[in-house]
């Protein structure tokens, strides 16, 4: 591989708090040699591929920390390969795959299978979050140390909550010694036994509601246990401002805790469900517009650390059903960046913070070699046109499943090229 030079590009690198126009030089080993305004003055290496990037922004490749894939077990919804193509098209250069597969990723052989399949077929970096409990059943902890050795970067109970507080305490105590991150979704199984946000809208639709407390109660518990055990805890997807407040309070107590939000909860609200549109059936459920606005603020001020796509491919067999019977989840890797850029265009969240939340910060939290354009780091780079208008159409999605809540959405801005290890894996 020869050198690649990206010229006249606006470089936004949250890992260095750098926002300047300059040049990025990628070496023949797929690593970044230089990325700054000074690099403009250096000569172009012989035989280098030069790309004039006037008008474009280069950011560290996006890191999506919560992605569900159908392989193994539901390859008709998504394979590791098809997920990686969706990722590349959305400017995502690394993602963390959830263990909710069939079989569940709770054993080192399965984690190794995923890593091998990813090495052979995926065009972006695929990391694995292993199951925290065997079979995600919530009863016995998995081999956290061995799974970590096999490459698992986080431990989660996937889509399932974890009811057993004693088990959670022991798992966190054990994980602390290994410096492993425990990342959980928040849905108390009794209070959370509804299908959309609780309130007037759900009442008119005759659908059972999920109150905020179904999220707050397990979150408060988890934050207390994280404080008690001093473990690294990550709340995977929070959806209401009260949860952001709980995070602030826990941090002030000194707990080592972080949290994320799905792009859907920053972009949509419960009214989008309209007349029972199942592509908007998510977990946690879409909340009110006031909640959404509160979450945008919490993202801007850094209380919410990261944005995830929560990419969750579902087919007609799980979505073309009455609302209450349909599966939760929406695909999102291909639209996350564009949807996030709406918050930049509206002036609600600075661009630097958005890129931080989708790249640098998740890489830090999960200890990935990503999220930076520092010389010496792997050349995972996303080139973004901040303003290009485009319209989402089902047919253009690379994901095998088409359950996007953004169908026919108008966006400004998207990834025009994606580099992984210096290699261009997507270009418009």
């Amino acid at each position: 591989m020869s050198h690649t030079v990206l010229k006249n590009v606006r470089i936004i690198d949250p890992s260095r708090n750098l926002d300047e126009t300059g040049t990025i030089v990628i070496g023949d080993d797929g690593r970044i040699l230089a990325a700054s305004s000074q690099a403009q003055n250096q000569g172009t290496p012989d035989g280098a591929t030069v790309r004039d990037c006037r008008g474009l922004v280069a950011v560290p490749g996006l890191v999506d920390a919560r992605v569900y894939v159908g392989e193994p077990g539901a390859e008709h919804r998504e394979t590791i390969e098809s997920a990686s193509r969706a990722a590349a098209a959305g400017g995502v250069t690394s993602f963390i795959m959830m263990p909710d597969t069939n079989p569940v990723l709770d054993d080192i052989a399965l984690v190794e299978f995923v890593q091998k399949t990813a090495r052979d077929k995926a065009i972006v970096n695929v990391h694995t979050a292993a199951a925290l409990t065997k079979g995600l059943a919530g009863h016995e902890m998995t081999e956290i140390g061995l799974l970590q050795g096999a490459g698992a970067v986080a431990f989660t109970n996937g889509r399932h909550g974890l009811s057993d507080s004693l088990l959670l305490r022991r798992a966190m105590t054990y994980a602390r010694e290994l410096d492993a991150v425990i990342s959980l979704e928040l849905r108390e199984k009794y209070l959370g036994n509804g299908v959309m946000n609780e309130g007037l809208f759900a009442s008119w639709l005759g659908l059972s509601g999920v109150p905020k407390e179904a999220e707050l109660i397990p979150l408060e518990r988890d934050l207390r246990i994280a404080g008690l055990t001093r473990a690294k805890y990550h709340a995977a997807k929070i959806s209401v401002p009260e949860s952001a407040e709980a995070m602030r309070v826990a941090r002030n107590r000194g707990a080592n805790v972080t949290c994320g939000i799905s792009i859907n909860h920053l972009s949509l609200n419960e009214n989008d469900i309209g007349e029972y549109r199942t592509f908007f059936k998510l977990s946690p459920p879409l909340r009110t517009e006031d909640d959404r606005m509160g979450m945008v603020e919490a993202l801007a001020d850094g209380t919410i650390d990261i944005i995830v796509s929560s990419h969750d491919p579902q087919d007609v067999d799980t979505k073309r059903l009455p609302f209450a019977d349909a599966a939760d989840g929406a695909v999102g890797m291909e639209t996350m960046l564009a949807a996030a850029l709406r918050l930049h265009h509206s002036g609600q969240v600075p661009l630097m913070r958005l890129i931080d939340a989708m790249s640098t910060r998740p890489a830090q939290i999960f200890g990935l070699d990503a999220g930076t354009l520092k010389p010496g780091s792997r050349a995972d780079i996303t080139l973004v046109d901040l303003d290009e208008p485009w319209l989402v159409a089902e047919g253009m999605l690379r994901s095998r499943s088409k359950n996007t809540p953004f169908e026919d959405a108008r966006f400004s801005g998207r990834a025009v090229a994606t580099y992984v290890g210096g290699k261009c894996v997507h270009t418009l």
């Binding site: 009442s203 659908l207 009455p322 209450a324 349909a326």
Partner: protein
């Protein structure tokens, strides 16, 4: 050509006051037909009506069947019941199969909210919602309105107290929508555990005492309390529920002297209503059943004659 700008009847939501008045006027005509010796007309001759019931309901299904037959339609009943197959999957698959048989109207009863709307997207004929989960039951609200209008002469400014399990009741939701559209004053009376979130913003006054809620009411509409909700999960016991919320002669005294007593049936005597009241002089429960057939005739005739139901591709 009649003026009714809807192809389906999926709910009361979306109907205007003139739409509702139109259907009620038409139902008045249908009452006359049903009271004749010769009850059969040829209005819908040659058209096919399929009753697709995923939840057992003898009375509603019989009412729709009779309505169709009196209009001269060919009526077929499909009771899918509670099969072991995933209910939703069955709904779409069954709908596609039935659609291929080219019916003119599908009457659907299903346990999931939104099922009728989903069906309407997938089939080429008119769809009548005969109850979808806890969402709506529009023909019930129309028959209740017809019963009230015939007894009281109007719907506007009358006080209707809807009592009991509002939370799980599609009948309550459709009635709240309809009565508000017609300018009635709606109250709900129930323990807080049986009221939906945001009820105060649904266009009703909320009461937790029968005596206060029934005061000066023109109509007392009782709702059925499902058996599985009686013991401990939503209310402590049948005994306690009846004590506070069961309609007996004593509690009924709070309402106007000529207040109507209504119930969508089937009744749980001694749970939400005492027999002395259910069978008493103020009860119009039997009349509701009669009006049910008339309203369903009106609905089907309107849907099937106000739109082009000729050759389809």
């Amino acid at each position: 050509m009649v003026f009714f700008p809807h192809r389906h009847l999926l709910g009361i939501k979306g109907l205007t006051e003139p739409d509702i008045t139109f259907l009620l006027d038409k139902a008045d005509e249908a009452v006359k037909i049903s009271r004749q010796r010769e009850k059969k007309t040829s209005t819908l001759r040659g058209l096919t009506q399929i009753n697709l019931f995923f939840e057992a309901s003898t009375r509603t299904q019989a009412s729709f069947e009779l309505a169709g037959k009196r209009l001269g339609a060919d009526v077929m009943n499909m009771s899918v019941g509670n099969s072991s197959v995933s209910k939703g999957e069955t709904l779409i698959d069954t709908a596609m199969t039935l659609n291929a048989m080219r019916p003119d109207v599908l009457v659907l009863r299903h346990s999931s909210a939104g099922a009728a709307a989903l069906l309407a997207q997938k089939v080429a004929c008119s769809v009548v919602n005969a109850g979808d989960g806890q969402h709506e039951h529009p023909t019930q609200a129309l028959l209740d309105a017809l019963t009230i209008r015939r007894a009281k002469g109007k719907l506007s400014r009358i006080i209707v107290a809807i009592c009991g399990d509002v939370l799980h009741s599609r009948v309550a939701r459709s009635n709240i929508l309809l009565l508000n559209a017609m300018g009635a004053r709606v109250r709900v009376v129930a323990p807080a555990t049986l009221l939906p979130s945001g009820i105060a913003q649904m266009g009703v006054e909320v009461f937790h005492s029968m005596e206060e809620g029934l005061k000066d009411a023109d109509v007392v509409m009782m709702l059925r309390l499902q058996r599985e909700r009686m013991s401990g999960s939503f209310v402590p016991s049948v005994r306690e529920y009846f004590h506070f919320y069961g309609l007996d002669a004593e509690k009924l005294k709070a309402a106007k002297e000529d207040a109507l007593v209504m119930h969508p049936g089937p009744m749980n005597r001694g749970v939400e209503i005492a027999s002395e009241v259910a069978d008493g002089p103020q009860s119009v429960i039997e009349s509701q059943v009669e009006m049910g057939v008339a309203v369903r005739m009106a609905v089907m005739e309107t849907l099937l004659t106000s739109h082009d139901h000729g050759e389809r591709a």
